[in-house]
């Protein structure tokens, strides 16, 4: 590693990537009064943990679910000693965790970030994925505030476009949280968004709460649920989502994925972008494809099931992949020109799209707590 690169690595302020940390954990004091019940969004790209204060405020702790592997060489040890990067060492490898992983790969310019999760479940191609994930989850979630505190963790529905059953993934996570001392149960990822955003259906009998379609555009998957008064009528997932957009854009433009992610998060506006910029153009095209694929499959699934809700429904949208400007407008435009089987009076973006799954899971965990007490 040459000195210039080493400077970049050791002085992240001079690097192009900036951290998005809003508060440090030390700002959360032991006096903070949380309501019992914690929600965890175990996503492909991020792990987000939500707790709620007595005044209704949600406190979300988030961690980017990324790793940068380094062989345990003298050079690596030197780098780690001279920096404040957070890492886990498993066997003969160091794994730099979180935002640091992205910062490091951008600064070094070689290697690729790896993830303990892939397509919504534990990454089968990363041998140490469960150990790394357990380590990370433990550090982000922390201890229960009371013995056997209720916890809900998000799980994807089984995908309709891949032969995959998530039961095993769900059981492993349940064991993780039980070992940490929680009374843990899974919650469907898209239903968690319904609990957070409360879609309203307008019917002849009046407004129905928790009724409509909720969609979580995650990194590995898009999760969709049709709900009626809080009941999950039909839920499923589609595997091509944010990661697919990044990978395809990387292939057609020849840019590394880490650069694509940075550009997507900092510059992309789906309503207006510079057509001469190949990366932004490719991102926009693949976003359009993912949106249209979701609308096509939703229409097919709901028609096949003869799902019926009288009146007009609301669609609520959240998830990290829905963050670029113009996403919701694009989704609403495309659904208006589709054969979607329900009357839709509005497509609503979550007020906090990145935190909606964890907040919804937290709401469900609080309901569990009240029920058991």
């Amino acid at each position: 590693m040459n000195d210039d690169i080493m400077d970049d690595v050791l002085n992240p302020q001079t690097s192009e990537v900036t951290s998005e940390v809003i508060k440090t954990n030390s700002d959360i004091t032991n006096d903070t009064k949380y309501k019992p019940g914690v929600g965890v969004d175990v996503g492909t790209s991020n792990i987000v943990v939500a707790r709620q204060l007595e005044d209704g405020t949600f406190v979300n702790r988030f961690h980017r679910d990324m790793l940068y592997p380094l062989d345990a060489s003298e050079e690596a040890i030197d780098l780690l000693e001279r920096s404040d990067y957070l890492y886990v060492k498993v066997n003969d490898k160091y794994y730099i965790v979180g935002e640091d992983a992205l910062r490091l790969v951008n600064a070094i310019g070689k290697g690729e970030i790896v993830r303990p999760m892939k397509d919504g479940i534990m990454n089968p191609s990363l041998k140490e994925s469960s150990e790394l994930l357990f380590y990370i989850i433990k550090a982000v979630v922390g201890d229960p505030i009371a013995e056997g505190e209720t916890l809900r963790f998000s799980v994807p529905a089984n995908p309709i476009d891949r032969d995959l059953n998530n039961l095993f993934h769900q059981m492993v996570l349940q064991n993780f949280f039980t070992q940490l001392g929680y009374n843990a149960k899974p919650v469907n990822e898209a239903m968690a968004i319904a609990y957070d955003c409360n879609p309203i259906a307008k019917t002849d009998e009046g407004n129905l709460p928790l009724t409509g379609v909720s969609i979580s555009f995650g990194g590995g998957m898009t999760n969709i649920a049709l709900s009626l008064k809080g009941l999950d009528l039909h839920s499923f997932s589609i595997t091509k989502s944010g990661d697919y957009i990044d990978e395809q854009t990387s292939i057609v433009t020849g840019s590394p994925k880490s650069k694509i992610i940075k550009k997507k998060e900092k510059e992309l506006d789906l309503g207006s972008f510079d057509m001469s910029d190949r990366v932004l153009t490719a991102l926009s095209i693949y976003y359009d494809e993912v949106i249209n694929r979701v609308i096509f499959n939703m229409s097919k699934e709901f028609k096949n099931r003869d799902s019926e809700i009288d009146g007009e429904i609301e669609i609520v949208v959240a998830g990290g992949t829905s963050m670029p400007k113009g996403f919701c407008q694009k989704f609403e435009q495309n659904i208006k020109t589709s054969n979607f089987p329900f009357k839709v009076y509005r497509v609503r973006h979550s007020e906090s799209p990145f935190y909606s799954v964890s907040q919804g899971a937290c709401i469900r965990a609080q309901a569990d707590h009240q029920k058991q007490n």
Partner: protein, 106 residues
């Protein structure tokens, strides 16, 4: 099928130490989970009906238990992780949702 032994050397007589439990658990889970039927069954197919009698959940549970067995040497330089973001939410709306949800079964 990928190797579940760490070493590809032949004639090793220490199978337990060398087993990569996690990889093995994954492979078995992959196979077992294929037998969990989540679709509508045609009752005229006897063999499918018989398969329904077998519930592989307990096998999956045992495999899942195995996944959190701590293996190898590990160390980290952190005890907690993550940035924090607060979002304001109307307390009444949340409470109304909780009231609906606490009456629902899983």
């Amino acid at each position: 099928m990928s190797d579940y032994r760490k070493s590809s050397k032949k004639n090793t007589n220490k199978p337990i130490d060398n087993l990569d439990l996690e990889a093995l658990a994954r492979l078995v889970a992959q196979e077992v989970s294929k037998n969990i039927n989540t679709t509508t069954i045609n009752p005229s197919k006897k063999e499918i009906q018989e398969e329904l009698k077998f519930d592989p959940t307990s096998s999956l549970k045992q495999l899942a238990d195995n996944m959190v067995v701590q293996r190898g040497n590990k160390q980290s330089n952190f005890s907690d992780l993550g940035g924090v973001k607060e979002t304001k939410k109307d307390k009444n709306t949340t409470d109304q949702t909780i009231d609906i949800l606490k009456d629902l079964e899983d």
